[in-house]
Assembly symmetry: C3
Homo-oligomer: 518 residues x 3
């Protein structure tokens, strides 16, 4: 690294000397022009002149700034993992806590290995509209990722952290009755295949949703195509829908009596940990959304995304708190669980549209997400679907809502970088901002395609694993679920709090009533 | 810091004009000079020449680096929220834990919405010495914040995170007997009005403390005016003083017997969580103080601020541990609560002077803060003021001490950027560094003004809310405070650890003796 | 966003065309050459030309980017402290939790003060091969640290965070029977002397391991010398070996019955906290390793280090989970404690070689570290050494393994910056990559030298402190260890969870059988 200032070589000095005696006024001016100097001299605005070339030094520095930004964002996104594990463990019963912790750790380790071997290749390399098939094991990849100067090796870790997020989401709705070997099997499916391949459709360089509207694409040519800035669909909808498929195939935990049968959710074991985990997730989201520019040159963009992310979370927390205060079983109470899931719902929803909406739009769509997360929870309770952490309402329902919300709230003011592989370079306007239904239609096509495809593949996969003999069956044996010590002792040989007098007692294996029927 | 793009001076233009008509040698040199090249050729030092113009590309890159720095700092400051919530929840009794969690989350959501609507406008827009009255809902604001190249939309989130910190501090001393609706009411007052309007005085572009000493300002013209680099006064004193007003108006929790009546503090419920929260706050403080440069071009400055912040925390922890070891009820014991509050006190104290002191000064003033936090706790106990987390000693007392400490420890060596709107560009020297009492006087005026104003307004506000009928009264009904399940079940419908055999028993509603009297 | 290098506008091209025909070609080219422009015009790659001079503006900006990178990394490394404290507290018994918390906080405060006073001077200033003896109290240090443009004051905080990590590691194996005053004494030894002086050997500007192979060095001249990119040896081996010496001198906790005597590890009190702490450590490691470049100009390097760090952790978690599943007392179970220590072992191991290995190498060496951590734990159990958190296997054994692993897995492809003071500028190849045993020999010399020196010094120091009268004796009195309330009440006057009905009962003071013998 030549950080110290090098001096001019003797040859260069001699040439300069010659130049000074031969004289070349216009040349000097042209050089200045070529370097974007003229605007400064003529009083131009202090933004970089579009027509000016960047020197190699400048390019190198810009790439460096962009790489720092992308890596710091990647670290923040990884920092969501302690948040996830706290949220899920806190909302779990004590008897299934170690299992939750272990799944999050295992899923992260597995995700790293698979995403290195083929996940990144499936998702981000060139191939066809459905799958990428280069860069396996990162070999053969160019030094630098496509549109920005960020090295592929730095882009990998950013995208790994995203994949890991999706992977961790999936376990949320399946807590308490999934066998650990079942978790291994379905995690290989989600992390290695479902997420990267379906993700390729929207974020791959030639994915069929990414290239919607361009020549040769079989989808209807609507406006500027499907857009998902940081993954309301790609990360959250996929994660939430896989969760849902898992929860349906598994059925509820033994002893879970639903509201209309006279019961209610099983008691979580540590709301302190859960709420802190929610806050850590919010913190990590500042890597997720602003980092998705993959560029810090876009100063207004990263600032706007960060602010919109904040305001949507605020709106979501407020919306969920109020709707829970006025409805349902927490009527008259300020419900901590709903409020936490509310700001998370706002964060999930803003993830897709964060670049193109204005702050007011962010607040409104976040507020609506907060309402949806409460109503979604009521709906799952009505359908007798057991989702201990609310993964389906938060990530599934609000992932879909966030994707569609761009169709309503896109402000028509902001154009994005092409960071995600999709052609995002032009501003778009949604229904409420005078843009008609074009954007909404494109979002609907993209969201529906991915939601339906994920659900179908996931339910088949889960069903297949459910047919395996124990211990590879998706659902753990009844003894493991309700016996003394709970799932933790059964699968992991220890309680989460072994240095306590209290021993976890067995619970009654009451079979819940069937899902969806009255 | 010449972050804005300077135009060429008239002289330079004249020289360029001459060059174009006379041509040749001098021109090349002048252009090189204008581009800061000459120092390199002549072997100059590798700092940027002050007189050289920045090219648009350079300006853009510098602004980009500054924006990355400011945003990362903003994220770290937001990362203090999990720390606050852990610290406060850990120091609370189990029966009031959910309430603490919920207040922090609610305050954050509220703060985002109000600071977007008018808080930022009151605080940072132009107006008069007392209040700003532009940029409501961020509309009409320029692209870029005043003195640095950071976009307003990025400056907003940095300042939101500060406002949120102040907002969260206020709840600390009021734990366990504030009604949730009362919290909503006073939080609107603090977040929407008290913090931003009083903050404008010190940090607004035309605040009367910020412009102290300049023409037309009614304050005495003392030296270089009042300085508060990152908010010992603006954030911490305001937060701590509001806390104090709340604790006084509320009175202690039922059953709280003070030391001189034969009792002592009520038992906190989780010191693990509290200590970890303290560490996370320390971590987040690295956004708070170094980020307040709003510029990364000032390399020495951000390094110095980070190091001073560290050393003051170390001094504070050490001071509090030792004074507690030698005094009071923890005599002979190494007290965890005091040590944690000690390093936090050091952090609060260094927040104002971090830019202008040297490492030795930082250690000394931090050590003193550690002593003050223990003595302050004893004083509150003597006055029968119930402050479960020590918010008043940590943020109030040490906020004032930190502000004044600049008058003692300012080293006279370091000049700051004008990042906070105040004229901070020149170095100042304090009493111990040969600068006399000038700085101390200015700090005293600023600190006293804000402390007194905040206290008066806060106590009136709290008193008014205390007059409202339940459930809007500031204090929760006695049943809610001491009944089975505690405040948590009363206000939020659930205990923090519902999946446990133990049920929270009611406590005796012993009225504590009156405050301040013997 | 014009991130790609924009081309000249048509008008600019025309003017350039005209210029070239009007006879000013040479001058323009000379100026361009002097400014490093030529590569761009001639179609060169957009990396900065090595031969081109940097303007003062450019140098300043690069230094600024590097400083931001270094500081953010420093903050992340400090962010490991909440992780450490959670991991250690979680793995501790409830009766010793406050003690663990307090030691981590105290060690951090002490480390700041000593590292400012003389630790940094011993380690990073010039002196001789064994110790540095300038820059005490940071006075007399230059503005900028040696090889990169990072200010010394920023380099200090980065290195403080490293020293603090080493300091916190040491307490892990000594939990539960060390007196707090004993902790103070040995911490002064480790933080103030052992770590910085031995660290100087490998990382100091003239350390005898750092300059291995250069003229005048007494060590054998093997290849490119000893390398430790981010501290598998300097931070982790030192920390782990000091732990081991402490655990040996202290002996096990009273009542600790080892496996071959019919017992097993004492029950940890909170695996949720422990696992979350592990994840936070992983998060903070992204400052530790990538930040050790001290430069963000090396984009490929920081990306590669981040990715290798991730993959080694994944490999380590997987390796430990599988080997535990197939062996020992957790046979057939997916063990949370081992898996957590497994990914930490992978992180420790990759810390030395992270810059020079490829992703496949990172996975393999991490996987082996995961195996070693489990086997090492079995070995300590067999030797009757009581290590409650596994500090010795994780940091000691895997620190050594990581250092040696460079000799096997160095890819021969990547050359490093000289960021650590050692001559790391050339690529090296290990045994498995066709480089023979040269690197392995150098690593063996470095690792053995530091391991043995640390062990000898540490065991003497611990033994001396063990001779002191109570309460300064290294080991707390038996009453303090086994009495009601445990070590926490004895040393700190409070339990970690005082607001709980359960009181910590005394335990039987069964003396464990002697170490190492059958």
């Amino acid at each position: 690294m030549a950080l110290a200032l090098p001096r001019l070589s003797k040859a260069a000095k001699a040439r300069l000397w010659f130049l000074m005696f031969a004289g070349k006024i216009i040349g000097v001016f042209l050089v200045l022009l070529a370097m974007g100097f003229l605007p400064a001299i003529l009083g131009g605005t202090p933004v970089h002149a579009q027509g000016a070339t960047y020197t190699p030094h400048e390019t190198s520095m810009m790439n460096s700034i962009n790489t720092v930004w992308t890596l710091v964002a990647a670290f923040l996104v990884f920092g969501m993992q302690p948040g996830f594990v706290m949220l899920e463990a806190g909302f779990a019963r004590r008897r299934e806590t170690v299992n939750v912790l272990m799944e999050c750790i295992f899923d992260t380790c597995l995700c790293g290995l698979l995403f290195w071997a083929f996940g990144y290749a499936f998702m981000f390399s060139h191939g066809n509209g459905f799958i990428g098939y280069h860069w396996f094991f990162l070999s053969g990849a160019p030094d630098t990722y496509e549109t920005t100067g960020v090295p592929v090796i730095a882009h990998w870790i950013f995208q790994f952290a995203f994949a890991d997020t999706c992977s961790t989401i999936t376990s949320g709705a399946m807590i308490g009755r999934t066998s650990f070997r079942g978790d291994i099997l379905y995690s290989i499916g989600v992390t290695g295949f479902i997420y990267p391949i379906i993700g390729h459709w929207a974020w791959g360089p030639d994915g069929f949703l990414a290239t919607m509207g361009s020549a040769g694409n079989f989808l209807p040519n609507i406006g500027t195509g499907f857009r998902d800035f940081a993954g309301s669909t790609v990360v959250h909808t996929i994660g939430g829908v896989v969760s849902l498929a898992g929860a349906i195939v598994l059925g509820p935990r033994l002893g879970r009596i639903f509201k209309r049968d006279g019961g209610g959710p099983m008691a979580p074991h540590n709301l302190t940990i859960a709420a802190v985990g929610g806050f850590i997730l919010w913190f990590g989201w500042y890597g997720f959304n602003p980092g998705s520019t993959l560029s810090a040159m876009d100063m207004q963009g990263i600032g706007r995304v960060a602010t919109n992310t904040t305001l949507a979370a605020c709106g979501g927390g407020m919306g969920a708190m109020l709707i829970a205060l006025w409805s349902g079983s927490s009527k008259g109470k300020f419900d901590l669980g709903f409020t936490t899931n509310g700001f998370l719902a706002g964060l999930v929803a803003i993830t897709c549209p964060c670049y193109w909406v204005d702050p007011l739009g962010a607040i409104c769509l976040g507020f609506v997400a907060g309402i949806f997360v409460v109503l979604g929870t009521y709906l799952l309770e009505y359908w007798r679907i057991d989702d201990p952490v609310g993964a389906v309402p938060v990530h599934g329902i609000c992932g879909i809502w966030g994707t569609l919300s761009l169709g309503f709230f896109a402000s028509g003011k902001f154009g994005a970088t092409g960071a995600t592989g999709a052609d995002n370079s032009s501003p778009v306007a949604g229904l409420f901002y005078g843009g008609g239904t074009t954007v909404l239609k494109a979002q609907l096509i993209g969201s529906a395609t991915i939601t339906i495809a994920t659900f179908v593949v996931a339910i088949v996969m889960m069903w297949l694993i459910k047919q395996l003999p124990h211990p590879w069956n998706l659902r753990v044996e009844a003894n493991g679920e309700v016996g003394p010590g709970g799932l933790d002792v059964w699968e992991h040989g220890t309680d989460a709090y072994p240095d306590e007098a209290a021993v976890i007692a067995p619970v009654e294996a009451v079979k819940p009533r069937p899902q969806f029927v009255s």
